[in-house]
């Protein structure tokens, strides 16, 4: 009579322990996933968000579609913009394949350098459509990208490819131009 409840208790303890371990593992995993976003990535994501407030598209936009590519960590930071309001528009952040009709689906596109995507192919697909492209390397700009968020030493700098922006008929605001370096 005394042993049964004990066994039951042991089972309960064991189950509780396993559950706790699982919860702990889950929490740790979550925590890791959360902290895996570096400060640099957070800053870049915040810059992208601020840039959305400083762009005028030639067409009327009610929902701002920000498209992500590749499976880089920064996408996690960028996804946090999803649902935020910018200049009265709701931001939606979605992941797209390179083969998608980007110019119809996206108003902004973030292409991480590390993703090793075929940049030329993407750029050709976009053409001169009013789709703002943001990357994170000098090379991105020379291949026709519009805005690069480049880590320089301990800071993130913003460089604008003026020609590409103008060709796409996009207008940049003063808040952005005031802090960015412009190349032609």
């Amino acid at each position: 009579m005394l042993t049964r409840p004990r066994t039951t208790h042991s089972v309960i303890h064991l189950a509780t322990a396993i559950a706790l371990v699982l919860i702990f593992a889950f929490l740790t995993f979550r925590a890791e996933a959360a902290t895996a976003i570096s400060k640099e990535e957070k800053i870049k994501a915040a810059m992208v968000f601020k840039i959305t407030q400083s762009i005028t598209w030639p067409q009327r936009i009610s929902n701002l579609s920000v498209c992500l590519m590749g499976d880089e960590n920064i996408n996690l930071a960028l996804k946090k913009m999803d649902g935020k309001l910018t200049e009265g528009r709701r931001i939606s952040v979605t992941h797209k394949k390179t083969s998608a009709p980007l110019h119809r689906l996206c108003d902004m596109l973030y292409i991480p350098h590390a993703s090793k995507l075929d940049l030329n192919a993407i750029m050709q697909r976009i053409g001169n459509y009013p789709l703002l492209t943001i990357g994170d390397s000098e090379q991105f700009l020379t291949q026709g990208g519009m805005i690069a968020l480049i880590r320089t030493g301990s800071k993130v700098t913003i460089t604008i490819n003026r020609k590409a922006v103008d060709q796409a008929n996009l207008k940049l605001g003063n808040a952005l131009l005031g802090v960015a370096r412009t190349i032609n």
């Binding site: 959360a34 915040a46 301990s154 800071k155 993130v156 003063n174 952005l176 802090v179």
Partner: protein, 707 residues
Amino acid sequence: MSKRALPSLLAASIALATAVQAETADDDFFEYSLQELIALDIPDVTSVSRKQQRQMDSAAAIYVVTDEDIRRSGVTTIPDALRMVPGLQVAKLNANTWSVSSRGFNYVFANKLLVLIDGRTIYSPMFSGVNWDVQDTMLEDIDRIEVIRGPGAALWGSNAVNGVINIITKKAADTQGSLISAGGGSEEKAFGAYRYGGTFGSDRTEGFYRVYVKTFNRDGNANADGSDARDDWKMDRAGFKAEWKTDDDTSWSFQGDIYEGTTRPALMIFDENQPAKGVQTFTDQDRDQKGGNLIGNWKFAPSDTSDYSIRAVYDNYQNFDYRITEKRDTFEIEFQHYAKLWGSHDLVWGLSYRGTWYEVSDMRHITLYDKNKMDKHRFDQLYSAFIQDDITLTPDWTLTLSSRLEHNDYTGYEFQPNARIAWKATENRTFWAAVSRAVKTPSVSEHAVETKGITFYRVGTLPIPTMFSIKGNDDVKSEKLTAFELGYRELFADNLRIDITGFYNEYKDLIQYIGSNQCVFNNAIAFPYPDTANPPLTVTACTNNPLNPAYLDFPTTFNNNLEAKTYGLEFAADWQVNEWWKLQVNYSWLQVDAKRPKNGTIPQENENLIEDLSAHNVANLRSSMNLPNGWYFDAWVRYIDNLKNARVKANTALDLRIAKQINENIEVSLVGQNIFENRRQEFTESFTGIVPTQIEESWYAQIRWQF
């Protein structure tokens, strides 16, 4: 350019002084502006991200001069860069001596201001001020100059009474590659600097270094009649900085400079051994100065919520001056611990020790003595402990309490508490208030230094040289300040920032000059002399021969019998007018009201001296234009009201800079300083023997080449 993000060294060290908004682990920066984002420092991923504070939210009157401000203003010296800071008054006495002050007391002995370069104090205790002529580095390597007006004593220690100027050089990681900067012109006869930055160690150690050399040769100012004052200035300098990590949690840095150079200040002296020569003016006495410093930093950050750091500084300074030869060695070590406790407390505490060794000789006009005996050596020590707690009361309210306890050889223990509160009314609107107590402890110059034959009575009507000898007083106490500050900042529409600060300061026990009855010249005879300020009283005068005097000397010493109130307003605005044009304006208003004891024999002059040191109104307007095709055009107009004590009239100066970015790596520029005016007197003073000279219009061309 961003003045708005309170940069990270501030977070690493002074941040502690101000109320800040804590950066939590899940802060996404989405509420930061672009200007703030580009100014954020990315710490090493594993090292602690100590709270990043926005200047917007800080509970102190802070202004940041960025590297871009320095570049685009065309300044060639650190004190000239400080002219753009609201609330500071900068005046040039001769080609290489400045008076830099904050909130009053504008004097070459700017002893109520603490100036640091990478955490190394550059205050000269013997001179009771900063020898700006040897404070330099490659200007391109300066990351920013953070200026906190008002007391910063709780965190920084004594002398941080009216302000702290923190000159912070870039990280070695941010100065990689080669940079040549060279040029020349009318006043900047020739200058050149070369820096190289590289890496060392493995990927894991993340080692970066840079080395630099710099040299310049500057022309002297002009005399009142337009002739060359011959106070030329030459300086050579070299230095390095290295940073690395020994494991994920431990980072190190090591840096140093050496310098050597000559200035030739014109001196006005009276030699007691040659009384017949009267007051002589020397224009050919070289003042050679050399020195060097080493700074080591160690930081161990086992977690995001706790870190430990140690900084050790060694500084050597040698000054071969006609008035005195001074050698000084300073060693300082500081320990600091930061911990985030119970979620809402950011606690920092620390301990520090400083030892200063003096060795003096050739004491012609400046003498060090100990108990009335001339002394060639001296050793001073300073111990201090500080603590600060930053309490996040609610997401919008932050309270900062801090205090410092210090023990020095002159006045014993000093206690300097400070309370600050910041209210973030909206995302882009902050109000703050602060109450602080700070003390200015006497330095060796006020305790144990005697000057003679260099301070002349300028309204003398007598046909013989009339002067003051000034002797330190062993009993002099600390000067005390209670300060009240209120501030408001607002960011409008991301392109207009406004910052307004008001302050009210109450000083007690201010040091003043009073007559003594001890003659200092050899074989001098004392006799009573009618005190014109307080008839029918008399003061002691000394002379060689009362029947046929060759000179008259009024021996003077210090006491703490003066009080003063200062109050003022400081306004700054940055306006990004459009994508290519930025305007920055600031204006400072200052009133000083000194009060001598009612029933003493203290002359009105002592009140006037304090009241008339500073200008009542100072204003700056800077315009920065980014023109097409890589052209840049910058203009800077500055106004300073009259300096009554220095007898300098209100004046307005204009600097212009035009630059062309030829390609990504090469920039050429042409700079005009103090243009459209022949020459201008900015300052005079009568305590150092240094003859004031006049600033001339200056033009120079410069090339900066990065590769």
